[in-house]
């Protein structure tokens, strides 16, 4: 019984990690079709802390404003202060497992942070960086 439980956990976790990698891979292919650049985790890291000024808010905004610079840490919503689960897939297996969710948050958070949608190139760099955490 114990063994079958372990096997189930193993099968499920393998399935989760494979599907996360697949989702990321598929999105990267999609983004590279729109941008023609080599995606680079280091460029994603630089973009992560790059701050932008919003005319409605005196505080400069970056990805790290809410998610912090350490993606393995718990973040905090800038306005509501609700905790945000870690983004690093190595810590939080639910991350990067659903393309629709990834696109939803890229749309919302790029607009909040930079005041515009991210380009395919930026999203590619981000995805490389986040998936390596």
């Amino acid at each position: 019984m114990k063994n079958s439980y372990l096997l189930m956990v193993l099968v499920l976790s393998t399935y989760a990690s494979v599907s996360s990698a697949d989702v990321v891979e598929q999105l990267l292919v999609e983004y590279s079709g729109q941008s023609n650049v080599e995606f680079d985790s280091n460029k994603g890291k630089t973009l992560w802390t790059k701050s932008y000024n919003d005319n409605k808010d005196p505080q400069a905004r970056s990805c790290a404003t809410c998610h912090t610079e350490n993606l393995a840490a718990v973040g905090k919503h800038a306005k509501t202060r609700k905790p945000i689960d870690p983004l690093a897939p190595s810590i939080n297996a639910e991350r990067l497992t659903d393309a629709k969710t990834i696109e939803k948050w890229f749309l919302r958070n790029c607009k909040w942070t930079m005041g515009r949608e991210c380009t395919a190139e930026e999203k590619g760099h981000f995805l490389k960086f986040i998936s390596a955490q």
Binding site: K56, D57, H77, K79, T80, R81, K82, I84, K100, K104, L107, R108, N109, K111, W112
Partner: protein, 186 residues
């Protein structure tokens, strides 16, 4: 004659009870609800999509806390959701709007939802729960040092910071615990 007196007493008791229920303290209402077959509080959130999409950023406010017109207005302006971008795809947005409207205070039989509706004019569509006359009335005795200036709370929009059973739609005074302060009982 004896029966008539009993009847008069019973009738008077019933009238008195219903008066207390209409105008009495909210907490007493909650204890009497069973007699009037109306649920106390507001209906808890029952929609997984709403919960998933909206509670990533904030407490999942039960739909019975705002009237239908408010939810419709909020859901047509998600790209500027109180200064945040909360855009959704059309399918999810419409599904969530339908849930919120169908379970709004306007259509709810829950006691607090009824009170919220009664505190508003039929055409009112406040965007914030904290703007409701009923909400203001219920919170007017709370000094700002316990909420706005309390670093552990920060705002009245954090229902569940003090209302321990907020996620069950239960906002009674006996379930309030203000962080850094303790129980609230007025």
């Amino acid at each position: 004659m004896k029966y008539f007196t009993l009847l008069v007493i019973a009738f008077t008791a019933l009238v008195l009870l219903s008066i207390q229920t209409s105008f009495g303290d909210e907490d007493q209402d909650d204890h009497h609800y069973a007699m009037f077959k109306r649920e106390p509080g507001v209906e808890p959130v029952k929609n997984p999509l709403y919960e998933q999409e909206c509670s990533s950023c904030h407490f999942a406010y039960p739909p019975g806390l705002l009237p239908e017109a408010s939810w419709r207005k909020i859901m047509t302006n998600l790209n500027d959701h109180f200064g945040e971008n909360a855009e959704l795809g059309d399918a999810d947005r419409l599904a969530i709007e339908e849930y919120l409207v169908n379970n709004s205070a306007t259509h709810s039989e829950f006691r607090r939802s009824k009170k919220i509706t009664r505190s508003l004019s039929p055409s009112a569509a406040p965007l914030r729960i904290t703007e409701l006359p009923y909400f203001k009335h219920e919170h007017d005795e709370i000094p700002s040092r316990l909420v706005k200036d309390n670093p552990k709370v920060g705002s009245f929009s954090q229902c569940d910071a003090c209302h321990q059973d907020a996620n069950k739609g239960y906002f009674s005074e006996n379930k309030i615990k203000i962080p850094g302060y303790g129980r609230w009982d007025d």
